[in-house]
Subunit: 192 residues, 2 copies
Amino acid sequence: MSKSVLYFSMSVDGYIAGPDDRPGNPGGDGFDRLHRWFVPDGKRFARPDGAAGELYDEMQATGAVLTGRHTAEQAGHWGGDIHGAPIFVLSHHDPSPAAAAYPLVRYVKDGIVSAMEQAKTAARGRNVMVHGAVTAQGALAAGVVDELAISVVPVLFGAGRRLFDLLPARIELEVLRVIDTPEATHMRYRVR
Amino acid sequence: MSKSVLYFSMSVDGYIAGPDDRPGNPGGDGFDRLHRWFVPDGKRFARPDGAAGELYDEMQATGAVLTGRHTAEQAGHWGGDIHGAPIFVLSHHDPSPAAAAYPLVRYVKDGIVSAMEQAKTAARGRNVMVHGAVTAQGALAAGVVDELAISVVPVLFGAGRRLFDLLPARIELEVLRVIDTPEATHMRYRVR
């Protein structure tokens, strides 16, 4: 069965993006620091050794991506391709002509629940990767998140954009797995 | 050598206290949830089994406590006794008559650096436990924190008081230890 999973690299103080996050500086100052565990040179993905490598493989094997328009546009729609998976973009608007031209990018305008259903169907039994803090929290609030995969990076950012800032209520989790590496502590939670 | 250690139980979204934190409701709504791993009935401390028990023992063995006036007053100065350790309270004011009567409570008015020096001296080689979010962040900003012991509890709070909200700059950490239990993931970091 397809599961929806939030994948995020987060500082110990809860930031997933640094300050001054904008199109010319995607992810803000220090964004590379959070992703060094699988993008060591700040440019190319590199599979880590050991158990973190299995997490990396799992991320690469997700069957669909669900994200918001802000994140998608900030990232230039990933050039239309995230490891070949269909990309569902939650939006109130039509896609730009550039985005509309990508065959794997589909804009969804009827809300997060429908978007997740479509993404799960498209994932054909594989997992749906949720991208972007606003979409992640909207999905949590709507009850359509199955698991959280949070890679906690040993740094205090002090400023930037937090993963969690918009949750309307308390949500209980269950620890499924902890991968302990010097680069990050990879937490896996199930939403109860 | 005496080390200064921040001990905190924190939700996955970074909260160490719930909403409506006030004298009649110390720690706010849901505070018990964060401390269930060593206060399972919400009243009495209970040493957990396994590796978390060693963390518990270590907390009980700290040689001095450093805290702020808000936290100290909120907690009624712990009745003047935290496992027999001297309690240093950082304040701009003199203690209340009740606080001044506790032999182990000492108010320090000349700043966090001096307070930490005094606490380390009083700890006689044992560690100094730092209590309270404001004091913790002040100590981090002043560079007088050696380690962070953060017990991450598998719950999203959505609201309350965060541990980290006031840091003036990025601070690099090193993962020293991870204790993986169903009740909490006990992270230990060294400040670089």
